[in-house]
Amino acid sequence: MSTSTLPLLRVRGIGKRYGERVALHDASFDLWPGEVLAVVGESGSGKTTLLNAVAARSQPDEGSVQFHTRTGGLQEVFAMSEAEQRLLARTDWGFVHQNAADGLRMDVSAGANVGERLMGLGERHYGRLRATASEWLQRVEIDPQRIDDAPRTFSGGMRQRLQIARNLVTRPRLVFMDEPTSGLDVSVQARLLDLLRQLTRQMQLAAIVVTHDLAVARLLAHRMMVMQKGRVVEAGLTDQLLDDPQHPYTQLLVSSVLQP
């Protein structure tokens, strides 16, 4: 953990409604550098709404999101210009989609997918781009021989790993993940979780992971938040929360997990 006295991300009282329906109400938390926070809850509980609002992908109706930028200290994300927000989103942040096709260019080779962010930042040397892409494919356990293949020809697990490489190539400090492991079979899930745990530790990467899978939260996250009907009903250290749930809904969630 960094010794910094300021959090990397400070979220205060954000809310979002769709017409009359409240999708998210008064969510607040701090995220520290290198910390992994899991957001759990059933479908429709507001997890993804929270993630999109915090990642500045949709504007919340109320509340504030502050990010500790490399240059200017804690800055209000929604006070930034669109250009600044987008720059942040492709340098210091990453976003891993549930469906890899949303986060990848499916008809463009794996190498170009990994290199796109770098080219966007002005890298104009083909040889270096290729070396970096190859190195990142190795780090996410994809055979570098496949650097010129399109992700369309990749398996689900490989696509998800490629998406991670594409996001991490600019060495972001914060990654948002929306159900990164759902839709993968259990052995592939285990490998991906292992990889994520390794990468977050190596890179001192902070992450917010939205998941409905408590096992993912237990394996990856230092802290977790439980959401129900757009509200955060319980938050705390992962093992504490899973082993000694206080809120009735958390108790229900924990007791619903199937034991093989």
């Binding site: 250009a83 080779s109 290199g115 040397h125 650097i147």
Partner: protein, 289 residues
């Protein structure tokens, strides 16, 4: 020969004014695609309806018009457009690049250097250079607005990854005035360096896509590339079989059934003027900045 029942240059005056406004805006923001109310023309889309509307909006009775298609003055597209303007304006037409004040072109820039005061009008099928990689126009407009052009290099990267070199040979993307990435229309990349710091005004009209853009005289036009795979133009091992030119864009023409072929200049006016006076110097290709 002018048809008295048709307004000068076919379009009505209000339409011409609307197009001129779009052109002025395009000249003020080099490389930026200005939307305009493209009209139905008595030609099908793909035949140069955008270029014709731009020409119609800027042409005056004293203009001397030249129309080329693939460098040639006598192919069907060029002949038809030239006859269209002869009938609707009565202006003098020419095939000589140096005599023309207004040149409408499809797929080439003339070999003879252009001069101040000349206007070159391009026919553009697809004005958006990123369309192949990003089909949503809402997105490409944002990318232009914020000058986020990483995507353009993704395309060139893919070329090198697949073919070992940048295989794009026409419609090769350029950066105009250090700001907007622009499609130069399907001219061969051989012609790209001619756009750079050209003394003539270059106007681009896309009729179906309803966009006008421009490169004003003496504007920097840089072809994109990588440091280790820079932009390069095509070269030929042959010289023109008719005029002997070695620095012009050559077409390969098959002359019989047994595969005999010859290389000839694609710019027919340039080739003929060299045949008449072989002393005509080859144009110097300017270096790209």
């Amino acid at each position: 020969m002018t048809d008295v029942n048709i307004n000068f240059a076919y379009l009505d005056e209000r339409t011409k004014r609307m197009i001129r406004r779009a052109i002025l805006k395009a000249v003020a923001i080099p490389g930026y695609q200005v939307p305009f109310g493209s009209r139905e023309m008595p030609l099908p889309y793909g035949w140069g309806t955008g270029g014709i509307q731009v020409t119609a909006a800027v042409i005056g009775p004293k203009d001397v018009l030249k129309v080329i298609d693939q460098g040639s003055d006598d192919t069907v597209n060029a002949v038809n457009i030239r006859r269209f303007f002869e009938r609707t304006t009565g202006v003098v037409t020419t095939t000589r690049t140096r005599q023309a004040t207004l040149i409408q072109t499809r797929h080439r820039i003339p070999e003879a250097p252009l001069a101040e005061g000349q206007v070159l009008v391009y026919q553009v099928p697809v004005p958006e250079p990123m369309q192949r990689l990003e089909p949503r126009e809402t997105v490409t407009r944002t990318l232009h607005g914020l000058a986020e052009y990483g995507l353009m290099h993704v395309k060139l990267y893919e070329d090198i990854a697949r073919y070992g070199h940048i295989a794009t040979t026409y419609d090769y993307p350029v950066l105009v005035n250090g700001r907007y990435v622009m499609s130069p229309s399907p001219i061969p990349k051989f012609d790209n360096p001619k756009m750079h710091m050209n003394p003539a005004l270059q106007l681009f009209g896309a009729g179906r896509e309803k966009r006008i853009y421009a490169v004003p005289p003496y504007t920097a036009v840089e072809s994109l590339g990588f440091e280790d795979h820079p932009f390069e133009v095509q070269r030929w091992d042959a010289a023109c079989a008719l005029c002997g030119a070695t620095h012009s864009f050559l077409d390969e023409v098959i002359t019989d059934d047994s595969g005999t072929r010859m290389h000839v200049c694609s710019d027919s006016d340039y080739c003929q003027s060299r045949q008449q006076s072989p002393a005509t110097p080859a144009p110097q290709l300017e270096e790209v900045a």
